[in-house]
Each structure stands twice: as structure tokens, then as C-alpha cells.
């Protein structure tokens, strides 16, 4: 049925022959008749195409035509390599950033966990909603867990997990402190995890009579033990106990803590002690549950909340009214992802903004190009190309550009994913194992198609009503006010979006700068801190003597200016002792309804303040004579002295802890006052602290060494000196206070870095955009500038004029960005609690940067405008 191409040609030839024959019969000259017949027939190819078209499916026809258009587009783009390259790179940045951020979002927020039936796994949390926003996670005590276990029906099994620090000896290498999880036998089954080697812990490992058993985490086994399979069955020492390595856990999200080993209860003496087992307020255990068959998480939440209310009523003493403790139940996967949600959504927004900037920049370039192509499009329209065909031509070109951009963007996404996931890992451990997957390709492809379609509709087609003659005749560029306006609108959008990103990045940078510049009150450079954790098993000598001996031996080392002990490394140990216990002093009565004041409880050795550079304001330092059996003494910080002894008579008065943790109140004489330092917070706040001498407490665990020269050069000697006293003593994490603070600051630095990177990309694209618009505008107005120069304008005036236009675009963009950013922040504040508006400095800074960028971007086109060759310009056109 369907005729082939030869048939169609035959049919047309047949028609021609008949037409010619008829004319000749009417008496026309054969040659004239042939020409007339041809003329009468019209466009042979077009007719043949539409005859053929009748037989084709619509989509096939469009696809074939698009293929042809794409080949044409490639050839056309090869002629404008610079423009094509700019478009491709710009799009690649936009697409790459989006694809990378999206795969991390997908990996962290959307991917299921490896745990068996992870959609049945819930995390149960006890929050002190009365203490700070969001509610502090209180975890659970053993009696609480037992109550829930015995009463709940919606949870088929509970798993418990608590974290302890243990000295690990064995498995080769030096003795070292490891983070260990201590779990009940049900834990692994509830979590639905499997071993890669050996077995996991089970009910047989429960109870005080069981043999010590430990499971290694996959990370520890692969990184520290080189995946050694012979490790199974080996005996290790965990503090004072021993355990047998029974298996290696499969790779899984290390939640609630990233530990090296997970061991049974019997390995931790603390877990067998009376405090742990019977004290309802001794909370240190995380609780997980597996939903009973047929129950929903809502049902479990309802039941557990009701049970919990009953428990609280039965034991009012363990639940302070002020803390307003509440129980929540949520899916484990949501619990793991929740801290990362906000930051990832913000990242996603930043990436989307970069994409908008990239698209509007590309739209600019394509618009400018299409204006130059107006002549070509007019010719095509005159030759019979319909609107559809013209759009298809444009679409083909933008598809080629965007396709290339997407390919490059996906390649770019690869390294970006590892960067972003390392960054996001600070908020959710799940980000660590995010890899580039097929989703990147999908995101890249769909963004590219979105961009291509968008861009194909940017240029205006030649209107059928407009006189095409001019466009056909002159090959020169004529820029219409409409086009010019559109170009400027796109450039303004870029500036506006860049402004939002720049202001955001500026805000984060300002925070980091302020934090880094802050005075801490410590000698930061020369003081090395070591962890020499207690209890250190195998140390024969009593603790007090061990510290005494350590101080003596380390102090004798060459290059050591001072040695001191404490229980707390500033910032690194932040949060490990809670908000500080309550105390009172003689002669102080709290006002009605006011609680006793709180202060940080710190244990230090003589010389601590001198070594760390904290000034002694009054009284004396501790001495070696402040030991147990002697008079109880304390040193207070300036703010304690000022608050409780406003008349300055703190020294020689007495204070005592009222917190039940300290047992019977024992008055201590205040022997000195030291300056305020803040060892918890990076942003220094007035911190009340009370210090007690090591020799009246017996434990310390942190060593501070003040070095004369390079502090790190002392590390081997200090380690050696301590091992001479106690061979198994871990000596770890040597770092100067300066580096510790920098380490703690690194999330902020990383935040600022990531956002600065986004803002930098945005700025770069915006500069290219503004420069492109002006360059185009200048080249289209060569004649105008020629005339201006001819009638006496100074080149400098033209220069200023073009610069002014650039700055104008930037100014409008900044205003739009400021308004839009403010509105955006208002909207975001409804969804997130922690939305901050940047201060004046970052906003002004961003504005200045953008204006400068606009001036730089305008310089080249402006220079070109002022150097227009008058004669040439007037002759052209």
C-alpha cells in the first residue's frame, strides 16, 4: 500500500509530463512549457515530503526531523565554539551541583536501611523538653526499660545499647581506648543485622555469668585489622575484663554511636553494678523496638505514651517537673536522618539557585545568539518553515547544548558527591556510604531536558506579520527594545540569585571569622593536651601516685615548661558532664522559687592554671599538700565569686555541692579565684566553674604539657615517659589547644566553605552573564557609539555610560535579591526553627562584591564602546 520514494517521484514526473504535454498542445514552446509546468507545480521536494508524510506516524516524522535538526545544530554550534563551550560549562556546573546534592539527599533521607524489615524498626526516645529547645535526649535507665518491656504489647522485642569507653588490649598495636557498645542479647536480632564473619551476640550472652563476647564493627575490622579473618576466637582485654571476639558485623549505619566493638553486658563492670541496675535516674541506654506484627508505629506510640504516663505517676521522684520529660516513638530511619534534613534541604535549595542562575545565563547567551540568527530564521520562515519547525530547530540546538552540559555535569557530580557526602556525614552517618548511582543520571538528564525545553522557548520567532524584508536583506544585528529588556531581565535574575547566595555565604564566613578571632583566655599555641584515660588496667601503683609520678617524669623532659592534670580537655570533652551540678556557699540563700546556682565541676592538679595561662586573680593555687585527708579546698572562677560574694570576700569562705550525686554535703574552703574561661563552648560565654584538687578526688585522665618549642615534638617523649610507669596505659589524641579548637570549629568552617563554593560558582556565572549582556549590547550599538563619537562625545563618557549600565543591572539585581531573599527567609522560618537573617556586614559585603564584579564585567565591553572606529561604525549598515 505504502508507496516508496521512487513511486512518489514517478507520480510527480507523470504529472509534469501531462502538464507539459497539455501546454504544448495549446501551442506553447516546449521549453517555455516545461518551465511553466515547473513553476506551476511549486516546491517539488516539499510536496513529495508531505506526500510521504501522509504515510508516516506523527511522532516518527517529528523524531526524524529532530534528528536532522540535531545534526544541523551540531554543525551550527561548531561555528560558535566559544559560546557553546560557555553554555555547556555553565550548565554542567548547575546540573552537576544538583545531581550531587540530590544523590546525597536520596542516600541520606530516602534510601532504606540495610536492617531486616527496617520499616518495622522504631527508636524510642525520652526527651527533657523542659531543658532547651528540641528537648535533650535523656536516654533510658535499666528500671525504665524493664517496665516498658514487661508492659508493652505493640513492641514485640526491645533492643538496648549503651556506649562506654574501654581500654582495648590485644589485637596487636598499642593499648588504646575504644568506644564500645554494650548491648543485651536481643539487640542484634531486634535491629535485624547479620554477621559477615562468625556470629553476633544472642540471648546466650546475657547475664552476669556469661563469658565476655565482643563483635567487631565492619569499619574497625577493615580499617584497623585489615579484614583479618583469623581474629575470630581471639581473646582481648577490655579494661579489667576479657572477651572473645565472636564475629564481625555487616556494614550498617552505626547508630546510636560509631563504635569499634560491640560487647555483651558482662564486659562492663559498670553495667553489672547496683547503680546501673536499680537507679531509675541513671539513664545511659538507648532503646530500640521492633513493632509487633500488625501494629503501626502510631499504635505503638499511643500505647507506649500511655504506659509511660503510668510509670511517671508511679515514680514521681525520678521525673523532674521542670525537665518535663516526654516519650517519643519514631521510625529508626527518620531518627537517623533527621539532623541532616534541614542542612540537606538548604543545600538542595542552594543547588537549585545555582541551576536557576546557570539557566538564566544560558538563556542570555542563547537569546543573544538567536538575535544574531534572526536573519536566518526569517529566511527559513520565508521558505515555508512553520512555527513548529522553527521551534524544533531551536530545540535541537538547546538539546545538543544541554545534553553536553548534562554529560559533563554528571562527570562533575562524581567528585562533588564525595565532597558533599563527607560534609553531610557530620549531620548523618548515613551520608558516609553515599555513592554516585543511577539517580545522578536521571537527575542530570531530566534537568537537561527541562533546561533545553525552557531555552528553546526563550527566543522569539519571526512574526508572520512583521515585514521580513529588512531582516532578510541586512545581515547585521538589529536589537529590539524587547530583546534588550529580556537580556537585562535574565542578567538581573542572575545577580539577584548570586546576591542571595553571597549574603548567605558571607553570613557563615562572618561567623567563622568571629569564632576564630575570639579570645579564649587560654594559652592556645604552646599547650598540648593528652588523653590518659582512667581506669587504666594493669597499673600497679595507686592512682594518685601514678599522676604524681607522671607529673614528675614528664616535667623533667627537656623542652617541657610545665605539666598539669585535669579531667577535661577544653571543647574536645564538651558536653560529657552535663550542665553542671548545683552548689551553694555559706551565707547565701536563694530567693523564693529560685534554685541553687550551678557551676561546672572540674578536677585539676597544682599548676593547671599556670600551664594553660588562666590568670590567678586572688588567693593561691592548689599545692601537693591539698590531698585526701587534708582540708577540703576549692578554687572558684571569677563569675562565681562575683555572683555569690558581691563584696569581694570569696577567699576563705566555704562552698559545698548540694547535688545528691556528691552524697552528704561537705564544705570546702575557697582558697583562690581564677579568671573565667569557657571550656565547653566555642563562643565564649560567662562560665561559672569550681575547681577541686586531683589529690582529693583521685581521677583525672587528661594531661597538659606546656612546651618551650614545637609542642608536637614532645609527643613521643611524653608517651615513653608515661609507659615507663604503666606499660598498658593508653596515651592518645595529643593536640594543641589551638588545633582542638580548630577541629571543633571545622563543621562551621565546612559550612562556610560549601556555601562559599556555591556562591563562588554563582558569582562567576553572574559575571559572565553581565559581561555577555553588555558585550552584546555594545556590539549591537556600534553605530550608535560611532555617531556619538562623531558628534563630539568623549570616549570617557561612553566608557562611563556602559559601566553605568552594568552597575545599574547589578543594583537592580541586588535590590531584587535582597527583597526575594528576605521573603524567602520569612517563608523558610515557618518550616525550620533555625533560620537566621544575615547581619548588615555580610549583606553589604555581598552587595559590594557584586557591584565590583559588575564593574569588572563591564570593563571590557565599555572599553570596546569607547574605542569604536568612527568611520567603520558609520559605514556599517
Amino acid at each position: 500500500m505504502r508507496p516508496d520514494l521512487d513511486d512518489l517521484d514517478d507520480e510527480i514526473r507523470g504529472h509534469m509530463a501531462l502538464s507539459v504535454k497539455e501546454r504544448i498542445e495549446r501551442g506553447e514552446d516546449p521549453e517555455a512549457a516545461r518551465l511553466a509546468a515547473l513553476k506551476e507545480f511549486g516546491n517539488v521536494t516539499l510536496t513529495r515530503d508531505s506526500m510521504q508524510g501522509v504515510w508516516r506516524h506523527r511522532w516518527f516524522e517529528s523524531a526524524e526531523a529532530l534528528g536532522r535538526d540535531i545534526r544541523f545544530a551540531m554543525r551550527a554550534l561548531m561555528r560558535v565554539k566559544g559560546m557553546a563551550a560557555t553554555v555547556v560549562v555553565t550548565l554542567a556546573l548547575g546540573i552537576g551541583a544538583n545531581a550531587a546534592v540530590f544523590s546525597v539527599v536520596r542516600g541520606v533521607l530516602l534510601r532504606p536501611l540495610v536492617n531486616r524489615d527496617e520499616d518495622r524498626l522504631v527508636y524510642i526516645r525520652q526527651s527533657a523538653t523542659g531543658l532547651g529547645a528540641g528537648g535533650e535526649n535523656m536516654t533510658f535507665s535499666v528500671p525504665e526499660i524493664n517496665d516498658l518491656k514487661s508492659r508493652a504489647t505493640t513492641i514485640s522485642a526491645f533492643g538496648d545499647f549503651s556506649t562506654v569507653d574501654l581500654a582495648l588490649i590485644g589485637l596487636g598495636g598499642e593499648p588504646r581506648m575504644v568506644k564500645a557498645g554494650v548491648v543485651g542479647g536481643a539487640f542484634f536480632d531486634v535491629m535485624g543485622l547479620h554477621p559477615v564473619l562468625g556470629r553476633l551476640l544472642n540471648a546466650g550472652d546475657d547475664g552476669p555469668k556469661a563469658e565476655g563476647a565482643a563483635v567487631l564493627t565492619y569499619r574497625f575490622w577493615t580499617t584497623s585489622l585489615n579484614s583479618d579473618p583469623t581474629v575470630i576466637g581471639k581473646t582481648i582485654r577490655l579494661g579489667p575484663r576479657t572477651a572473645i571476639v565472636v564475629g564481625v558485623l555487616e556494614p550498617s549505619v552505626p547508630y546510636p554511636a560509631d563504635t569499634e566493638i560491640i560487647a555483651n553486658i558482662v564486659t562492663s563492670p559498670h553495667h553489672l553494678g547496683a547503680t546501673m541496675v536499680t537507679n531509675r535516674s541513671h539513664r545511659m541506654t538507648e532503646l530500640f523496638g521492633r513493632l509487633a506484627p500488625g501494629t503501626s508505629v502510631d499504635a505503638a506510640r499511643a500505647e507506649l505514651t500511655a504506659l509511660y504516663a503510668a510509670i511517671v505517676r508511679e515514680h514521681p521522684e525520678a521525673y523532674s517537673k521542670k525537665a518535663n520529660i516526654q516519650l517519643t516513638v519514631k521510625m529508626l530511619r527518620d531518627q537517623i536522618a533527621s539532623p541532616a534534613r534541614t542542612i540537606l534541604l538548604v543545600l538542595l535549595a542552594a543547588a537549585a539557585v545555582v541551576f536557576v542562575i546557570a539557566c538564566s545565563n544560558v538563556a542570555n547567551l542563547i537569546l543573544a545568539r538567536s538575535v544574531r540568527r534572526e536573519g536566518e530564521l526569517a529566511v527559513r520562515a520565508a521558505l515555508g518553515a512553520g512555527h513548529g519547525a522553527l521551534r524544533r530547530t531551536l530545540l535541537a540546538e538547546s538539546l545538543v547544548l544541554c545534553g553536553a552540559g548534562a554529560v559533563l555535569g554528571v562527570l562533575l557530580a562524581q567528585p562533588l558527591v564525595s565532597l558533599v557526602s563527607r560534609y553531610a556525614a557530620r549531620f548523618s552517618i548515613r551520608a558516609l556510604d553515599v555513592t554516585v548511582d543511577a539517580s545522578v543520571l536521571w537527575v542530570g538528564a531530566s534537568l537537561a531536558i527541562a533546561a533545553a525545553v525552557l531555552l528553546a522557548y526563550v527566543p522569539r520567532l519571526p512574526s508572520p506579520h512583521a515585514p521580513a524584508g529588512l531582516g532578510l536583506a541586512s545581515g547585521s544585528v538589529r536589537i529590539t527594545p524587547g530583546t534588550n529588556r529580556r537580556l537585562r531581565v535574565f542578567a538581573t535574575i542572575q545577580v539577584a540569585c548570586s546576591f542571595v547566595l553571597l549574603a548567605g555565604a558571607g553570613m557563615l564566613l562572618a561567623t567563622v571569622v568571629a569564632l576564630q578571632a575570639a579570645n579564649t583566655g587560654y594559652n592556645m599555641r604552646q599547650v598540648l593536651a593528652f588523653d590518659i584515660p582512667t581506669p587504666a588496667p594493669g597499673v600497679a601503683a595507686p592512682q594518685g601516685d601514678f599522676y604524681q609520678e607522671t607529673t614528675r617524669r614528664v616535667g623533667r623532659l627537656p623542652g617541657v615548661e610545665g605539666v598539669a592534670l585535669s579531667m577535661f580537655v577544653p571543647w574536645r570533652d564538651a558536653g560529657s558532664f552535663g550542665p553542671g551540678p548545683q552548689f551553694t556557699v555559706e551565707g547565701y540563700t536563694p530567693a523564693d522559687g529560685e534554685e541553687n546556682p550551678r557551676a561546672r565541676f572540674r578536677v585539676v592538679s597544682p599548676g593547671f592554671f599556670a600551664v594553660l595561662g588562666v590568670p590567678m586573680l586572688a588567693g593561691r593555687d592548689f599545692t601537693d599538700d591539698d590531698r585526701s585527708g587534708g582540708e577540703l579546698v576549692a578554687i572558684v572562677s571569677q563569675s562565681v565569686a562575683q555572683r555569690l560574694f558581691p563584696n569581694g570576700e570569696a577567699v576563705n569562705r566555704h562552698m559545698w555541692w548540694t547535688d545528691p550525686y556528691f552524697g552528704k554535703p561537705a564544705p570546702r574552703r575557697i582558697v583562690g579565684i581564677v579568671g573565667d574561661v569557657d571550656d565547653e563552648n566555642i563562643v565564649r560565654a560567662p562560665a561559672q566553674a569550681i575547681y577541686q584538687p586531683v589529690r582529693q578526688i583521685g581521677v583525672a585522665g587528661r594531661l597538659f604539657v606546656r612546651a618551650a618549642g614545637d609542642p608536637y615534638a614532645l609527643v613521643p617523649a611524653v608517651t615513653r615517659a608515661i609507659r615507663e610507669i604503666a606499660a598498658d596505659q593508653p596515651v592518645e589524641r595529643a593536640a594543641t589547644l589551638e588545633d582542638i579548637r580548630a577541629e571543633v570549629l571545622s563543621p562551621e568552617r565546612l559550612n562556610a566553605f560549601v556555601f562559599s563554593a556555591f556562591a563562588g560558582i554563582a558569582l562567576l556565572i553572574a559575571v559572565v552573564g553581565v559581561a555577555g549582556v553588555l558585550a552584546f549590547s555594545v556590539s549591537a550599538r556600534t553605530r550608535e557609539f560611532g555617531v556619538r563619537l562623531a558628534i563630539g562625545s568623549a570616549p570617557r563618557q561612553l566608557l562611563a555610560r556602559v559601566l553605568g549600565e552594568g552597575v545599574g543591572i547589578a543594583a537592580i539585581g541586588i535590590a531584587a535579591g535582597a527583597a526575594g531573599g528576605y521573603a524567602l527567609a520569612r517563608v523558610a522560618a515557618r518550616f525550620f526553627t533555625t533560620v537566621q537573617l544575615p547581619g548588615a556586614v555580610p549583606v553589604l559585603g555581598a552587595a559590594v562584591v557584586l557591584i565590583c564584579a559588575a564593574v569588572i564585567a563591564s570593563l571590557m565591553p565599555a572599553a570596546r564602546a569607547s574605542h569604536v572606529d568612527v568611520v567603520q561604525a558609520l559605514r556599517s549598515e
Partner: protein
């Protein structure tokens, strides 16, 4: 290059070409050129069908099953494609003819109504 006819020509109304083609084929097969000529002469040179519209229309009608085509030899001694009404084509012709007379009638009433004359 002289024009064969300077008579004022009418634009074909949208959608009437198919009907005209079917009508010219009512009395037997013709090739494309012949169909064009028939429309022209039967309209006293008032209607002229562009080849660019005619041939795609013929193929379209074949595809719909209203015409069938066979190769033959034309008066010019060339291979030519002869078109012929099918049964479905005949039915379609009467449908289109009815619709057309309704349309002419309706438009006529509007154009000749009393109020339009007063205008």
C-alpha cells in the same frame, strides 16, 4: 512566462478539497493531473488546486481507504498513478455532499435574512 489564466481565482474552502476529489472520481478512475484539471474545468477555471495540496490529499484519502490507486500509463506515455473510488469512498462522498448542502443552506439563510439586507 505568461499566465494561462488571469481570471479571478477563488481560494478553496478549508476541508472541501477531499469532497471535490471524491466527486471528480465519481465517474471513473483518473490520475492526479486529470483530477486537478477536472476541478478546474468543471469550476469554469474559478478553482485551481495547488499540486502541493492535491497530491498529499490523494495519498491521505488512499490511506483512509476512500480511494485506491493503481499504476497505469498516461496520455503522455508515462507511468502514472490512477485513483478510483472505493465503496467507503462513495459513502463518504454522499456524507460530505449532504454536509455541504446543509452548510450552503445555513450560510445562505444568514446572508439573505431580512435584517442582513437592511444593514
Amino acid at each position: 512566462m505568461t499566465k494561462t489564466s488571469d481570471a479571478p481565482r477563488l481560494e478553496l474552502l478549508q476541508g472541501t478539497l477531499d469532497m471535490l476529489v471524491l466527486r471528480t472520481l465519481q465517474w471513473g478512475p483518473r490520475h492526479g493531473h486529470g483530477i486537478g484539471q477536472a476541478i478546474r474545468s468543471q469550476s469554469d477555471d474559478l478553482l485551481k488546486v495547488e499540486t502541493g495540496s492535491l497530491y498529499p490529499a490523494l495519498h491521505r484519502l488512499v490511506k483512509r481507504g476512500w480511494l485506491k490507486a493503481e499504476w497505469g500509463i498516461s496520455e503522455a506515455n508515462q507511468r502514472a498513478r490512477y485513483y478510483q473510488l472505493t465503496a467507503a469512498g462513495k459513502a463518504q462522498l454522499s456524507v460530505e455532499r449532504d454536509r455541504w448542502s446543509q452548510l450552503v443552506d445555513a450560510i445562505g439563510r444568514v446572508m439573505n435574512s431580512a435584517s442582513a439586507i437592511k444593514e
